[in-house]
Subunit: 267 residues, 2 copies
Amino acid sequence: MARFSLNQATTKRWPLPDLVAGCVAAGVPAVGLWREEVAEYGLDKTATLVRDAGLAVSSLCRGGFFHEEDWYDNNRRAIEEAATLGTDTLVLVSGGLPGKSRDIDGARRHVGDAIGALVPDARAAGVRLAIEPLHPMFCSDRCVVATLGQALSLAAPYPADAVGVCVDTYHLWWDDEVWRHIEEAGRQGRIAAFQLADWITPLPEGVLLGRGLPGTGCVDMRRFSTAVHDAGYRGWIEVEVFHEDVWARPGAEVLAEAYAGYRAFAA
Amino acid sequence: MARFSLNQATTKRWPLPDLVAGCVAAGVPAVGLWREEVAEYGLDKTATLVRDAGLAVSSLCRGGFFHEEDWYDNNRRAIEEAATLGTDTLVLVSGGLPGKSRDIDGARRHVGDAIGALVPDARAAGVRLAIEPLHPMFCSDRCVVATLGQALSLAAPYPADAVGVCVDTYHLWWDDEVWRHIEEAGRQGRIAAFQLADWITPLPEGVLLGRGLPGTGCVDMRRFSTAVHDAGYRGWIEVEVFHEDVWARPGAEVLAEAYAGYRAFAA
């Protein structure tokens, strides 16, 4: 279980103290946290709770959303929060098209500029920015970065230890170029995070909460796991699933299934 | 209006005789037809109705669905139907992953093999196969061909006048590689169909019926239209929108808006 991490979003309704206790009881070594849930429980209180329990924080989700007006201040706060929580990885979801814009190239350029503006703060805080490409169905409203290739292009101007990429099976499984891009990301030392979720249909309204636990859908998890391993990644492997049906279930039960999925497929 | 075509799916609830009369009244020169609706009205009856009205048939949707058992016979029937209707273009939606398969490469190879098996029938009937990449959100259940680049790779073994590609703005707008692929498709003379629909959010449950009329969403229609024109395409431009709200409206009204969208953006 040395590299397994439970992303908090998978058990969204599990109160943080219960989640931490459940992870400790199950021998889980790490959790991935979300800013909203951390803020709700309290930043310092969360940091203390997790540290005292001996859990590592594999990543903080999420910075980014660069289409919003206050992106700079908000992302600087996210970097500080990551440092306070003791994680070296801040996942960035770039944001979508601003307002009524149809200028996707312009939006992607802005993402690159915004990341550049944040690199000094991130380095000073010892936090690495992990650009996460989201599935193209989120391109207009959540993330104009839709492929691992685009994420690598955006990361290219910056040192690999400052700006990496996040490989999430749910977002990338359909892309025949992803294997080449994982290799390239490995060569550059840019794989900063690896997240598992499965693709199931039908998609729900709004499409955000349609992910399956690893093994319940059509993603070739083993192929991803092997590719990321062969690319040299040895960091945390998070299970990160958003689904109302999963959230409705007891946290410990979901944790056990998330771990079983990780065990079955992780290289 | 010389190159405008109303795809029947845009006004799904408009009975075929009314649709044909509405197109004639509006001066629309062509319609795109769907097999299910044609079968319901009767194949020969549809062919006669449309021909007698002086309308061209820009394309027949759809062949493909190669993950189904009877794909060969079914697609041969689709080719015959296209010929009977007097169109030279059969749009192929490849189909998704078969059963519980996670082998997306295998599914894509099968699509290539299936197209190869159909080429002799298609050529004999004077019908060109148009491979349509669908948005990656349809990859598992409807279409493993998710980018124009993949469609071009699948078409590559066959002459351009036998196997082309369908460029649909709705499915391809998010892809930064699409401009390069449109140019390449033009160089090869493979653009067989061009369809307009806009991307709007939130997506509905099941995501199939979430398209907007051109101009109502975030797709840069003019850029697509110019790119396809610059690539040498001079064929029909179909407006093809699936949305319950659009279907609920009077056909003539939707036709007028579809045409207005085409006028506003077509090069």
